[in-house]
Structures are given as structure tokens and as C-alpha cells.
Amino acid sequence: MIDPLQTLLIALSLLIAAIATVYVVLDRPAGHVLLGSLGLLEGGLLVQAGIGIVQLAQGDGDGVNGLVFVGYLLGTLLFVPAAAWWALGERSRAGTTGLIVVGLVVPVLILRLQQIWTPAGA
């Protein structure tokens, strides 16, 4: 699909998980670094959704399940702010632990997107 961006997003997401882990270990509340990284991630996901939908509309995807593809693009886009809001709703160690979950789930969603974009074989 759009490889360099997606690889970057996966790396950023894992970085967020790693930073959140450090914060949990040190028992520090999430601050600007984590919030900024989450914002950056969300921006990247927005670009990904835009490019993905345009590519699909142009008929670039061969045999791609459009409904599933767009569902994943938009689902990922909504997941990050919703989950971050929920995780940061409690300023505690557990709340920050929620950000680790966010950072680990997003790469899985992006990998699934890539699988959906290249159906069986290819």
C-alpha cells in the first residue's frame, strides 16, 4: 500500500509503547512527550487513511475487500484517540499502562491492513 509511511507508523507506535513502559516503571504520569507522540501518530494515521481511500477509489487494489479495508483504516483512526482518552482518563500507573496497549494494538492493525491490501499471494 504505502510502505514507508506504514513502517514509520509501526515504529512510532512501538516507540510510544516503549516510552509508556518506562513511565509505568518509573511511576510517572504521561506528559507532553507521550501526548505529542500520540498526536503525531494520529496525524500519520489520518494521512494513511486519506492515501488508502484514494488508492482504493482509483482501483489500485486488486481484489481488495473494500469494506474491510476502509473499516480498518477508519477504525484505526478512531481507535487511537478513543483509547488514549480512556487511558488518560485516570492519571495513574494503570492509565499509562493503557497507552502501552494502544502502542501494541496499532501495529497489529497496520499489519492487518497490509494483509488486506495484498490478498492471498502477491
Binding site: N65, L67, V68, G71, G75, F79, A83, W86, A87, G89, E90, S92, A94, G95, T97, G98, V101, V102, V105
Partner: protein, 149 residues
């Protein structure tokens, strides 16, 4: 650690928040999966797709009831998580013993191996959390056995 009473602790704070987040992820993915299956190819594997939809409903109920603490919702959370446990064990076993019944996968097929085994572990974590919040001071106490104050 709470120092007073054996009053139930809320299920949506602390580690419960992380648990609810994971439940929400599964509620979403199971709902998405079953919607697509039922919309696009309902006739291919009716049993598997009906089970996907059922699993989605169970995850939604568990997520909501854990996130909204109260005597009634917590009872429903117990129900949802127990059904989830039975579901993943029964469907996981059946999908291995009678694979022909499941031409397409459900969340619970092969004990959730397609989802990194999380569907198998999640109900145990859910029950552990419900036990713990039900009796904050006597974690792991057997349900129904009154604890001495």
C-alpha cells in the same frame, strides 16, 4: 490497599481500566468481523458467523458492564465473562475436534490463536479482576462464601 470495609471496589479503575480497554478492542474487532461476514457472505459458514456475532455481543456486554460499576452491571459482567470463558473453551475445542463445522474462523476458533491467544487468556483475567474487586480485602475468596469481617 483499602483499609476499611469489604465493600466492593469499582471495576473501572486501576488495572480494570487496562482490562476494559482490551475488552473494547475485542468488542470492536469481533463486531467488525461478524458484520463483514454477515453482510458479505452469510451463507458460506452460517454457524461460524452466528458465533462471531454472539462473541461480539458477549464482548460488548462485558466491556460495558465492567466500565459501568454497580451491583446490577457487575452481576452482568460476571455473566458475560463466564459465558466468554465457556465460549472460548467449547468453540476452541469444537473447532479442533470438528473442523468441518467451521469452514471459516470465529474469534474463538483454535482457542483464539489467530488473535495471539488473547481470547483464551482474557476471560481468566476478567474473572480474576471480578473476584478481586468483589472482595478487595480477601482476593481470591470463593464466591458465595461469606468472609468474616
Amino acid at each position: 490497599m483499602p483499609d476499611s470495609s469489604t465493600a466492593p471496589a469499582p471495576t473501572n479503575t486501576g488495572l480494570g481500566r487496562v482490562l476494559i480497554l482490551v475488552y473494547a478492542v475485542f468488542a470492536l474487532s469481533a463486531t467488525g468481523r461478524s458484520t463483514v461476514q454477515l453482510v458479505q457472505k452469510a451463507d458460506d459458514a452460517p454457524l461460524a458467523y452466528a458465533l462471531s456475532a454472539f462473541a461480539a455481543a458477549v464482548y460488548i456486554m462485558a466491556t460495558y458492564c465492567l466500565a459501568k460499576p454497580g451491583p446490577r452491571t457487575t452481576r452482568l459482567a460476571w455473566l458475560a465473562v463466564s459465558v466468554e470463558l465457556v465460549g472460548v473453551l467449547v468453540i476452541g475445542t469444537l473447532s479442533i475436534v470438528e473442523p468441518s463445522w467451521f469452514p471459516d474462523d470465529t474469534v474463538w476458533s483454535d482457542f483464539g490463536s489467530g488473535y495471539g491467544w488473547v481470547p483464551l487468556v482474557l476471560p481468566f483475567l476478567g474473572l480474576a479482576w471480578l473476584f478481586r474487586t468483589a472482595r478487595p480485602r480477601a482476593a481470591g475468596a470463593v464466591s458465595g462464601t461469606p468472609t468474616r469481617p
